[in-house]
């Protein structure tokens, strides 16, 4: 398996504030990785380091390159989308296509045009005349036409309604993703996209709180739901987080066996969203 991103002791300080405190992680080829963390946890800083947009300390290799020193070469194989606001308002749709075709060696104009034909976006329109959802569709059309090995998406569907969000991820999965490509994605709407991820990276206060393939989460984390009066017995097994829902208590365990917990109540693998909340609010590992 090819390693696409490898970070060791990745550190970034802004004056006295530490945005990333020596984090280690790897992203393998052909994965869809969710980089998930609360605001200010260091997500955007990590993405900026990966994209060569900021300096850092520690080791970082993206597609085998130093992203800051070799940024120009790297951007031929990496594509990114920050959020809906970054396409300039004066740009026409046809100009966006002309521009990408002119500067990007891996841009296939026909692919972008095929996708745009399925939308209400007209070639002569300016970005300022498009709705927020259409601007994202346009940006997506450009990305689909770029034959990139790594796609970085930072809150790509921020401010869009549910229909656009759903269509965005469906297109990404069906028309873009394959075993050659890797996607690194941050979003606040974890519930909506958790079925998309093959891996998750939880980041908390500049540190990695959890890095795991999704399929092995179930072997490690369990969520036990019991009635309030039965909670004491469950607490004895030392959950790392618990919360009360409609008079019942949900307890989250790390590394306990199902056989141990099953007799106490209702057992299941936590959703990524629930696990995220548990990891962020529970005691640090």
């Amino acid at each position: 398996m090819t390693t696409i991103i490898e970070a060791q002791g990745l550190t970034k300080r802004y004056g006295a504030k530490t945005a990333l405190a020596g984090v280690n992680f790897q992203v393998e080829a052909g994965r869809i990785v969710g980089l998930i963390g609360p605001n200010g946890a260091g997500k955007t800083t990590a993405l900026k380091a990966i994209l060569g947009l900021t300096t850092y300390e520690g080791q970082l290799r993206v597609l085998g390159r130093d992203p800051h020193a070799e940024r120009d070469a790297l951007m031929r194989e990496v594509c990114f989308m920050a959020d809906v606001a970054v396409l300039p308002r004066w740009l026409r749709v046809s100009q966006a296509l002309d521009y990408c075709a002119g500067v990007h060696p891996r841009f296939e104009r026909e692919r972008a045009q095929d996708f745009l034909r399925k939308t209400d976006i007209r070639p002569h329109s300016r970005v300022r005349e498009l709705s927020k959802g259409m601007v994202t569709q346009l940006h997506l059309a450009l990305i689909l036409a770029i034959d990139a090995r790594l796609l970085v998406l930072d809150e790509p569907t921020l401010g869009l309604d549910l229909l656009y969000r759903r269509a965005f991820y469906d297109t990404l999965l069906n028309d873009y993703f394959d075993k050659e490509r890797t996607i690194l994605l941050t979003t606040h709407q974890v519930e909506e996209v958790e079925n998309l991820f093959t891996d998750v990276l939880f980041i908390r206060q500049g540190q990695i709180a959890l890095a795991s393939p999704v399929e092995s989460l179930g072997a490690r984390y369990l969520q036990l739901t019991v009635s309030s009066d039965a909670a004491a017995a469950a607490r004895a097994l030392r959950p790392f987080y618990e919360r009360e829902v409609f008079g019942r208590v949900a307890l989250f365990f790390d590394g306990r066996s199902a056989a141990e917990l099953a007799p106490l109540g209702e057992l299941r693998t936590p959703s990524i969203a629930d696990l995220f909340v548990a990891k962020m609010q529970g005691s640090a590992p």
Binding site: M81, Y99, H104, P105, R106, E108
Partner: protein, 319 residues
Amino acid sequence: MNAPLAATAAGALPQATLRAGTTPARAFLTLVRREFWEHRSLWMAPTVAAALIALSALFGQVHLEASDIDAMRAQQPELVRVAFFTIGQWLLAMPIYLVMATVVTFYLLDCLYAERKDRSILFWKSLPVSDAQTVLAKLVTGLVVVPLGSWLLALVSFLVFFGIWSVRVSLGYAPDLAHWGTLAWVRMEWATLLAVLLAILWYAPLAALLQLVSVLVRRAPMMWLTLALIGGVIAERILLGTHYLWGLIVYRSDGIWGLLAGGPAGMHIDKHNLIPLDAWLLKLNFAGAFAAPALWLGVLAAAGLVALTVRIRRYRDDT
């Protein structure tokens, strides 16, 4: 025999790349086109100025007093008419260059600031275009493409103007003052082209300075430029009692034209001494001006400023 086939299959990705491909020249051309998409005044303002000048031939009037006409007739009439022709050529081109210089100044101050203001810099940086390519494309657009384009516009607008004017003269609606002289016309255009090229080199450090301000400031680039220059001049006056900065500003504004004219003696034209400008222009010291160390020191300074601007665009982290 199988090896090349296997290599082709494994290299499917690069193959697709070659097909879609682009070249450095095409990329640079695209970057320059992009500037005209965003800053439409770059081509619209000089074009409108050129069109207005060409069309002014339709309703333009020339007022001459009797004594002026007598004074001119005392000289060789043919010479006077060619002189009017070339003076017209020069006068009609000037407004186009003034408009061009104004829009280029505002453009260079805005070009690296606008992309941060609207956050589109993150989009531009998501594509494989280096900071050096970006900064150079913007500089070349403002400093080379627009001035040379304006020269062409001035050339065409004069031809249209003279065509319309000639029709009016033949219909008796305008005085027959100017006389077409092909050699004079070619000489004038050639001298103007040389002057434009000289100006490009001479004003290169100024253009690079405008870009540096553009990449530095968080808002109001024009205000910061003005404050920096005025503040610098005043601070030097108060702290050091000298005025080198002011001298430099003045010298960089018009120093080259003194060099070109070959000193203060120059040439004097008035109604008693009308000579075709083209003859005068040919006496300009282009060789001396293009060889002036101050010109090339300025180009060197511009290169340094551009390098600094590229570095700032690359390293600043406030997006």
